[in-house]
Structure formats: structure tokens, C-alpha cells
């Protein structure tokens, strides 16, 4: 798993490619040798490499939203948090993930868990609160790595 992420974090850097020295083969040249296109998952996940960070989930308050303890989440700090986004927030000395709800009419902000065992948190002026970034993806292993 650690190796996977090494590649993720280095997605934007030039990764040295293993190039097959074709001229060493004396046989018929491969007709596919010009087809170097490939699928790059990190490109699909990371749109702003400069502002993308990763975090590990600890806890089950977002279980019903499909975010589980031990998951890896991708955070894009450049995105503005909109009503309904899952956000990495810093509240009263702790980083957490919740759904961000913003009630325009009442001018109030909520951090909403997705697990009936937890209650929504109303964010007030008294809270030391910042939205650290918006969660764009979670990476969940369905089989031990």
C-alpha cells in the first residue's frame, strides 16, 4: 500500500520509465511498439496536484456515506466548500471529516455525520473552526493489501 501512494504523490513528477531496448531483439518488430497510451488512475483522481493532500480516516461517523475507518482520502484544498460537500475540517483542536451543510437563510453552518449514532455539530463563533479542504475521493481497500 505504501508503494501505491508513493506513486500517487509523485504522479505529477516525471517517474522514470522502464524502457525496453527494442533494438536488442532480432526478431519481427512489435506492431504495437508505437502504442504507448495507458490508463493513469492518478490523473483521474488528482486535478490540482499542487493543492492535493492525503489523510487517513479514523472512526465510523461517516460509515453510511461510504467513508470507513482506515480509508485514505484525497483532499483538494483549492475547492470552495459548498453545501453538501464532505470536508476535512479542523474544529476545537481536531481534524475531522463530515458533510458540510450551510443554511443560507439561517446563516448557520453544520457538520453532519453519516451514522445515526452521532449527532450533527452546529458550528458557532465560539468554535475554533476552519475548513481545511474538500474531500474529493476515498480509497477503500476491499481486500487486504
Amino acid at each position: 500500500m505504501s508503494e501505491q501512494l508513493t506513486h500517487l504523490t509523485q504522479a505529477d513528477q516525471a517517474t522514470p520509465e522502464l524502457v525496453l531496448a527494442e533494438h536488442l531483439h532480432a526478431g519481427f518488430p512489435s506492431p504495437a511498439s508505437d502504442c504507448t497510451e495507458r490508463i493513469d488512475i492518478t490523473r483521474e483522481i488528482i486535478h490540482h496536484p499542487e493543492t492535493t493532500f492525503y489523510a487517513r480516516i479514523d472512526g465510523d461517523s461517516m460509515r453510511d456515506a461510504g467513508i470507513f475507518s482506515g480509508d485514505l482520502v484525497v483532499i483538494d484544498r483549492s475547492l470552495p466548500a459548498s453545501d453538501g460537500d464532505y470536508v476535512a475540517a479542523y474544529i476545537d483542536g481536531e481534524f475531522t471529516v463530515k458533510e458540510f451543510r450551510f443554511d443560507q437563510a439561517g446563516q448557520s453552518a453544520w457538520l453532519v455525520p453519516h451514522n445515526p449514532a452521532y449527532s450533527p455539530i452546529r458550528v458557532t463563533e465560539e468554535n475554533a473552526f476552519i475548513i481545511w479542504g474538500v474531500i474529493t475521493h476515498t480509497i477503500h481497500h476491499v481486500r487486504p493489501v
Binding site: T6, P16, E50, F53, Y54, I67, R77, F95, T96, V97
Partner: protein
């Protein structure tokens, strides 16, 4: 026109990205094992704590005011720095990175100062939100003036982090109160000469004649004088290249074990050789030093310059030569406290002279080195190498890394945890 992007209290700001609780707290970052202050938050600056002071000297103050201290975390600072540089690079045809936290942007492609100002305001907001780091911009016709402008942007809240010095009037007003010793490129010796001539502000210097500047300070001083008068003439790429590459450390505890010392030196050697290769250079000379504490009367030294007949950047060759030298001079029961490697006579790796009686198979060496570099680049710095193999718990005791924050952005094990 240029803009200088300068990060505010860079190392401290990097630490705060992942520690929002320290936003308004006094924070310092210390140099490796030397324990000197290398970065200060504004709160710490206000306490009158100077750059470079040993931490133990300010310990009582630190306790009194609850100053939080960190050891330098270069993987983190380097990664956040490269994020800023890549963000900037998208908005200028020519970005000149000047240090880990400073870069010049050529903005000549923009039609007027107000669009330059607008771009810098936007970049500042993007970097603050997207990366979490506060930066300041100075816009001016020359790099020396950019430095002055960025200083104003940083220290006067009214500028909101972006100061444009685009007219002669603004230039004169800014330079009038600017101490000449703070001007970019004016060192201690120049300051002394200028002060002896009765010059204390940048404006006084700029208003003298070019001949005066030449007679007092020679060519570099003339370039600074021209730049202060709005004539761009300094290319940072023209600044003298680094003539030496150094890696040295103070150990947390005196090292009496030869194997441990060898391990540390091999690691230093690997570091400097890698730097050498990354800039496509080779070196002809390598200085190695090991010594006991400077605070003892009886300082014991190992110091020797090793000369390579054929300039090299090969870790294996360099490590072997270094360990041979140190083993020959090492004395048992001697508490070595500091060691280091300095590379000298650095030249480009183009056109290295071959020697007739060379005993090394250089082509093979090079292939091996390339293979090792490839593996280490992919799987982490010290996956394979020539270091003597020491149990890690023993080697871990070499340095104090107590106050070092995690490598939040470059190691999967170190990423932040979100309580959920």
C-alpha cells in the same frame, strides 16, 4: 517588470499548515542538531528573539511565553515549496526560483501594472487557500527593487501582501526610509564602506553618481546601484555558482563506535554525491572532517582532503576513499561529536579527462550508479547503497529528532489523521 514572491516565515508557516492550533502561537524552527533558531513566527519576532540564536539561550523565554519549537523538516518544506513554485510557474513565461521560499516572476507579458497587481493578488489568495501558506509579492522594474517592495508588502498590512513600486515617485518614497544594509546584495563589508561615506539609506546610495558607486564598491555594487535606479541588470543565474557542497552534522551523543561513525559518514557521502550528480557535476576534491566537542580544551581532529585523479560523482568510489581515510586516523575511546564531508573543485561532468592508467572500470561504475539511483528514486532514498549495515535502533540514536514534525506530504505513514 518583475514580481518577487516571498513566503512569510516559511518554515514556521509550513508547520502551521498541519497544526492549525498554532495559528496565533509563538513558533520557532531550529536547525538540525545545532539547535539554532532558523525561522520565527511574528509573535516570536515581537519578543525580540533574533535569527540564529542558540535555542538554549532563549529557553527561559520559550518557557515563559510558551514558544513551540520544531526541528527542521526539510521533506515537508521542500514539498510545499515545490507546490508554490509550480503554481507560480503557470502564470509567468519565466520563473526564476531564487531560494526555497523565494522566486522571481517575469511579468513583462502583461499590459500594465494594474493587471500585474491583480495577478499577484490572485496568486496570493490561491496559495493561501490551496496550500495554506501566506506569501508576499513585490512588483518593480528590477529584482533589487522587488526585494524592497516585497519587504514593504510583508511589513505593512495596508498593502494586503502585494506592493507595486511602479513609478519613480513610489520608488523614491520607498527607498527614503529603507536602510542601505538591508538592500539585496549589500553585504556587511559594503555596509561598512557606505556608512563610512555617510550613507545610511538606500535612497542616499541611489542618488550618488555611478562613478561613486564604482569607486566604493566595484562592479557588483554598481549593478546594485543601477537596479536601485530602476535599470534591470541582475540575473540570478549569473550569481556565482556554489563552489562547494557540504553535509555535516553534530551528533546527539558523542560517538565512540567506529561502525556508527562510518555509517554516518557514508550517509553524508551519499547525500553530497547525489547532489553532485543531480546538477551534472563531478568533484576533484573531498574534505572529510571528524572532531570532538569544541567546548572541550582538548579538541581531537581527523581532517583530510582526498584528491581524485579523475573527477568523480560516484558514491561507491567516494565512500570507499572516505572510509579508508577515516579508519586510518580514527582513535578508540575518542568521543567524536561532529563530522562532515565537503566537496570541492566542482566541475561539469562534460568532458572529464580520462587517465591512461585508470584502474577503475568507469563505464561499469556509472551503470551501477544509475541502476542504484533508479531504485532509490523509486523506493526511497536508502533502499540500496554502500553504507555499512547497522541496526537501525543504534543508528537512530545518532541525532536528536525529537521535535521534528511528520513528513505529512511525502510519506504515507505520516499523513494526517481525520477523526471521524
Amino acid at each position: 517588470m518583475f514580481a518577487l514572491c516571498d513566503c512569510n516565515n516559511f518554515f514556521v508557516s509550513c508547520e502551521r499548515v498541519f497544526r492549525p492550533d498554532l495559528r496565533d502561537k509563538p513558533v520557532v524552527v531550529l536547525s538540525g542538531n545545532d539547535g539554532c533558531v532558523v525561522a520565527r513566527s511574528n509573535e516570536v519576532k515581537q519578543l525580540g528573539i533574533k535569527m540564529g540564536v542558540p535555542f538554549y539561550q532563549i529557553k527561559p523565554l520559550a518557557e515563559k511565553y510558551g514558544i513551540v519549537h520544531f526541528s527542521s523538516n526539510f521533506p515537508l518544506y521542500g514539498d510545499l515549496s515545490s507546490r508554490i513554485m509550480r503554481t507560480l510557474a503557470r502564470h509567468t513565461p519565466y520563473l526564476e526560483q531564487y531560494s526555497i521560499d523565494e522566486a522571481f516572476l517575469d511579468l513583462s507579458h502583461l499590459p500594465d501594472t494594474s493587471s500585474m497587481h491583480a495577478l499577484c493578488v490572485r496568486l496570493r489568495a490561491d496559495i493561501l487557500k490551496g496550500i495554506g501558506l501566506p506569501v508576499s509579492f513585490g512588483i518593480a522594474p528590477t529584482k533589487t527593487l522587488c526585494k524592497v517592495a516585497a519587504d514593504y508588502a510583508k511589513h505593512y498590512a495596508g498593502y494586503r501582501g502585494v506592493c507595486a513600486m511602479d513609478t519613480p515617485d513610489k520608488r523614491i518614497i520607498a527607498l527614503k526610509d529603507y536602510p542601505v544594509e538591508d538592500v539585496w546584495g549589500i553585504g556587511r563589508r559594503s555596509t561598512a564602506k557606505l556608512q563610512a561615506a555617510g550613507i545610511t539609506t538606500a535612497l542616499q546610495f541611489a542618488e550618488h553618481s555611478e562613478t561613486f558607486a564604482r569607486n566604493l564598491l566595484n562592479q557588483p555594487g554598481v549593478n546594485t546601484w543601477r537596479e536601485l535606479n530602476g535599470e534591470a541588470c541582475i540575473e540570478t543565474t549569473d550569481l556565482p555558482e556554489k563552489q562547494t557542497i557540504t553535509c555535516s552534522r553534530t551528533f546527539a551523543h558523542p560517538v565512540t563506535d567506529l561502525n556508527l561513525l562510518e555509517q554516518a559518514l557514508a550517509e553524508f557521502c551519499d547525500n553530497v554525491a547525489r547532489k553532485l550528480r543531480s546538477q551534472h557535476s563531478v568533484c576533484r576534491q573531498m574534505l572529510v572532517f571528524v572532531h570532538t566537542s569544541r567546548f572541550n580544551d582538548d579538541v581531537r581532529f581527523i581532517q583530510q582532503t582526498i584528491t581524485f585523479a579523475i573527477p568523480t560523482a560516484n558514491t561507491q568510489e567516494m565512500t570507499a576513499a572516505l572510509l579508508r581515510t577515516v579508519c586510518g586516523q580514527w582513535r578508540p575511546e575518542t568521543p567524536y561529536k561532529r563530522a562532515g564531508v565537503i566537496l570541492m573543485s566542482i566541475e561539469s561532468d562534460n568532458g572529464v579527462q580520462q587517465a591512461l592508467f585508470d584502474t577503475r572500470d568507469r563505464e561499469r561504475d556509472q551503470r551501477l550508479q544509475q541502476a542504484l539511483d533508479l531504485i532509490n528514486n523509486r523506493h526511497g532514498k536508502r533502499t540500496v547503497g554502500f553504507t555499512p549495515n547497522i541496526p537501525t535502533d543504534k543508528a537512530a540514536g545518532l541525532y536528536n529528532i525529537g521535535a521534528k514534525s511528520p513528513a505529512y506530504t511525502t510519506r504515507l505513514q505520516d499523513i494526517i489523521t481525520l477523526k471521524c
